[in-house]
């Protein structure tokens, strides 16, 4: 009998549009915010007497127009993917962790130092060891923020931000002191990695393997959140903590687990920066990827799959900063102003979700 009544109770095969439109909301609104942020930035450019058309033209040219510019862009993408996951995973549990930068920097240091210990090892073992050390430090750093939240009620946003400062100070101290390569005179660095412990480029595309690992990590995280019971439990806890507690879900373990995973990815970002880009841990690691990653994660609405295209887009922006500085005679912080304006637009757009009737299934239903 229940089976007979079913179609009446709710047209489960309801028009595709009533299923699609609610999903479109998560796509349309971030796009609109991106556009609004770009418009606001254009006004800013006009105000300082520069042409927005030239600006966006240069971004396109430097970020996406040629194989060379794609190489430039992709070199920025790997750390952004990992840094964004370090924001997005805790965010699914309702935690705003903004200190990924600290875990990236310490992960890089761990990889650099581990590399000096692994000289002469088979490359696979050496790289594995470096990656593990980097992830372990990242896990320790970010999971402790989750644990502080659960055990002591410490605000994770403030804690993660402050811990990032501590991490950077610690990094500078160690690189300039105990772990410094005496030969690095102007730029304090750890000992350079041997050739066998460097990560090369992937065949066909001129980008290092970190990009591929980052993309796979995003896909894996999406599967974790959308397809496993663990991800489902995390979503319940992120949406309503009380409801999750009443269901007896292990909220504490979920929080620590998800922050640990995010920390592992941030550590991995540091590992790839050291092993594939810089060749040793030094001040170049402190490049703000952790902060741009926050923007990536928010633009992607903490959806790991959406992080991939967004990271490529913002990677392109970052890659164009040098060209903009040279051609438009603007400081290289200009791109940061642009990112900042997009971020403000994204944060503002959070308040309009659910306000538009066309995104509700009811709107499309035939009464």
């Amino acid at each position: 009998m229940a089976n007979v009544e079913q179609p009446v109770a709710h047209p489960s095969g309801a028009s595709t549009i009533s299923v699609l439109m609610p999903r479109a909301e998560g796509l349309v609104i971030p796009f609109a915010a991106l556009l609004a942020g770009s418009l606001a930035f254009s006004l800013f450019l006009l105000l300082v007497g520069k042409s927005p058309v030239t600006f966006f033209g240069l971004v396109w040219m430097a970020g996406f127009s040629t194989a060379f510019s794609w190489q430039n862009t992709l070199s920025q993408v790997a750390p952004l993917l990992f840094a964004a996951l370090c924001v997005a995973l805790p965010a699914r549990l309702g935690l705003v962790v903004i200190g990924g930068e600290g875990a990236i920097v310490l992960g890089g240091l761990a990889a650099g130092v581990a590399g000096t210990q692994a000289t002469g090892w088979p490359p696979a073992a050496g790289l594995g060891f470096m990656a593990l050390c980097a992830m372990a430090l990242g896990v320790g750093w970010i999971a402790s923020i989750g644990a502080l939240r659960i055990k002591r009620g410490v605000n994770e946003t403030i804690a993660s931000l402050l811990m990032a400062y501590i991490a950077i100070a610690l990094f500078n101290h160690l690189v300039e002191g105990p772990f410094r390569d005496p030969a690095s005179l102007n730029k304090p660095s750890t000992l350079p990695l041997t050739e066998g412990l460097r990560i090369g480029e992937m065949p066909l595309i001129s980008a290092h393997w970190g990009v591929l690992v980052g993309i796979l990590a995003c896909i894996a995280c999406w599967v974790l959140i959308e397809r496993t019971t663990l991800g489902f439990a995390a979503r319940i806890a992120g949406d309503n903590l009380r409801a999750a507690q009443v269901q007896g879900l292990p909220v504490g373990r979920l929080v620590v687990g998800f922050t640990a995973l995010g920390g592992a990815f941030a550590g991995l970002a540091g590992f790839f920066e050291v092993a594939a880009v810089h060749g040793s841990a030094n001040g170049s690691l402190i490049a703000g990827y952790g902060y741009t990653g926050i923007l990536v994660a928010f633009l992607a609405r903490h959806n790991p799959l959406a992080i991939i295209p967004v990271a490529i887009l913002l990677g392109g922006f970052a890659a164009s900063s040098g060209l903009i500085q040279r051609r438009m005679d603007l400081p290289d912080a200009t791109i940061l102003v642009f990112q900042g304006m997009i971020f403000v637009a994204i944060l503002l757009s959070e308040t309009v979700y659910g306000r538009f009737k066309i995104f509700t299934p009811a709107y499309w239903e035939v009464r």
Partner: protein
């Protein structure tokens, strides 16, 4: 058409004429007229979705009616926005509180004033407030942060706020849904005294016939957006009102109560914890819940029932003592709840039992999503099973939703409660912990939920029913315990239960 005029001193009348309100092609209100005489206490009855909220929102200017006029003190007014209504002296008290929880009562009152100065001279404000409270028939502690006040006191403060703002026409939207009968009688008694004195006109949305009979002068009944009846309360009986509301005489629930005397399932002895404020101790002793019985926990709001629920759901740290379930200590983990087949119906299901941004189908899966028949929780989520489960629960419990993939926050209160009930009562249940299950629900939803509870009891489920609605406790329980000031003050089987005696212990005269 006058835009602004000053309403007369004292109470004034408000009238809505031919109000029609359409949302798209849905007619929420169809040519409804209602007149509230100056100084009268008018009740507005109707089931959820009957159009009660719509008409008051139109009167208050939150909605612009599709057609119809509002007369204030017999003058036509264009209610373009709530500010117009407020400037005329119309105010509203909502079912849910609109106070700032972290501020004190005094601060809440002063900042609610439109003309609150940029720099507040607390000395003079304090003096003015005390003078104001001296004129009022009831009072609240001024210096406590509002989040420390019990629900009854918050509601009094809401009403005081309206009077403080000089509003002389009040719309009360289910003002007593969080109050005990005694508190409700007290608050409504004061409100009625103000109407009798010619200082106030009141329109009250309610579900409780008892309050209508005791306090209201007139009433209007809405059903499906139409006015279906009304008149002088003195000329009507509760049966008449129910008939108008439901469209037919309601069948009194003939609940069969099988006598099941089972073994003790749940025991609380020597359980100690702190209350929400962290100041007062909670001490639970001698609670034993048997299979096949409903144990009612009565008490005035704020006497530790909330904390008892949190203890039982594992949300509150115990300083000593243990919850014993089937002879073993219980800490409300998911594995234990599953093993002992314990389910929960917390109060305010949207706040305590649902994930508002997740879909109806997902919310319905909270109990079953990690089950695959085995001992260990499943790793992969089975979306097909989830959809099947949602379809069957939605039809079995008659949950009205546009689609299983709609957000649960788009459902009405009654349907949210039905969805949670469907989730928690389905499957193998042995212990059910319930808190204020019928808070703010309409007549028919209440009947369904109570029927389901008794039905579960008759199946042998042990039910602990924490409720601030004494009528509900008296109707459903086999045994009653009373909570007062954080401990169990009294216990009685239903056969010898006496409302006066229970009230005595509820009031703390132990």
């Amino acid at each position: 058409m006058s835009r602004r005029f000053k309403t007369p001193q004292g109470a004034f009348s408000v009238e809505a004429l031919g109000m029609t309100m359409r949302f798209g092609d849905f007619t929420a209100l169809d040519d409804v007229s209602i007149k509230i005489e100056a100084g009268s206490f008018h009740a507005l009855l109707g089931e959820n979705g009957a159009g009660k909220s719509t008409i008051v929102k139109a009167i208050m200017g939150f909605y612009r009616a599709t057609a119809g006029t509002v007369l204030v003190a017999d003058r036509e007014v264009e209610m373009t926005d709530p500010k117009v209504a407020q400037s005329l002296g119309l105010g509203m008290v909502y079912q849910h509180f609109t106070l700032v929880p972290s501020l004190t009562a005094a601060e809440n009152l002063v900042i609610s004033r439109a003309d609150a100065p940029a720099i507040i001279n607390w000395k003079t404000e304090r003096a003015a407030l005390e003078a104001f409270l001296a004129r009022m028939p009831f009072s609240v502690p001024l210096d406590q942060p509002v989040n420390r006040l019990a629900a009854g006191e918050k509601q009094k403060l809401e009403i005081l706020k309206q009077l403080y703002l000089g509003h002389r026409f009040l719309i009360l939207d289910e003002p007593t849904s969080v109050l005990t009968p005694a508190e409700a009688d007290e608050v409504l008694g004061h409100v009625r005294a103000l109407t009798r004195a010619g200082e106030l006109t009141v329109l009250m949305i309610t579900h409780k016939f008892r309050e209508v009979m005791a306090f209201a002068d007139d009433l209007t009944v809405l059903r499906r957006g139409k006015r279906v009846g009304g008149g002088k309360v003195a000329d009507l009986t509760p049966a008449d009102m129910a008939a108008m509301m439901m469209g037919e005489a309601p069948t009194p629930s003939n609940r069969q109560r099988a006598t099941v005397s089972g073994k003790v399932v749940l025991q609380l002895d020597g359980v100690r914890a702190m209350d929400r404020s962290g100041l007062k101790p909670i001490a639970i002793d001698g609670v034993a819940l048997r299979a096949g019985e409903i144990l009612g926990v009565a008490g005035v709001s704020g006497n530790g029932q909330m904390e008892l629920m949190e203890i039982l759901t594992g949300q509150r740290h115990l300083s000593s003592g243990k919850i014993i379930l089937n002879g073993a200590p219980y800490t409300a983990t998911r594995a234990q709840a599953k093993q002992h087949k314990v389910r929960y119906l917390p109060e305010e299901p949207m706040r305590n039992a649902c994930a508002p941004r997740m879909s109806v189908a997902e919310n319905l899966a909270f109990r079953s999503f990690d089950e695959n028949g085995g001992e260990k929780p499943a790793f992969w989520k089975d979306s097909t099973a989830m959809a099947r489960n949602a379809d069957s629960l939605i039809s079995a419990f008659n949950v009205k939703t546009s689609s299983p993939s709609a957000r649960i926050s788009s459902l009405s209160g009654g349907n949210v409660q039905r969805a949670v009930l469907a989730r928690e009562l389905t499957g193998n249940v042995e212990v059910l912990i319930v808190s204020n299950p019928c808070f703010g629900l309409d007549f028919s939803a209440v009947a369904t939920i109570r029927d389901r509870l008794v039905e579960a009891r008759n199946r042998g489920v042990a039910i602990l029913l924490i409720s601030e609605d004494l009528d509900e406790i008296m109707e459903l329980s086999d045994r009653i315990i009373v909570m007062s000031e954080g401990h169990i003050a009294f216990e009685t089987p239903i056969a010898t239960a006496n409302v006066a005696e229970i009230g005595h212990y509820m009031a703390g005269h132990a």
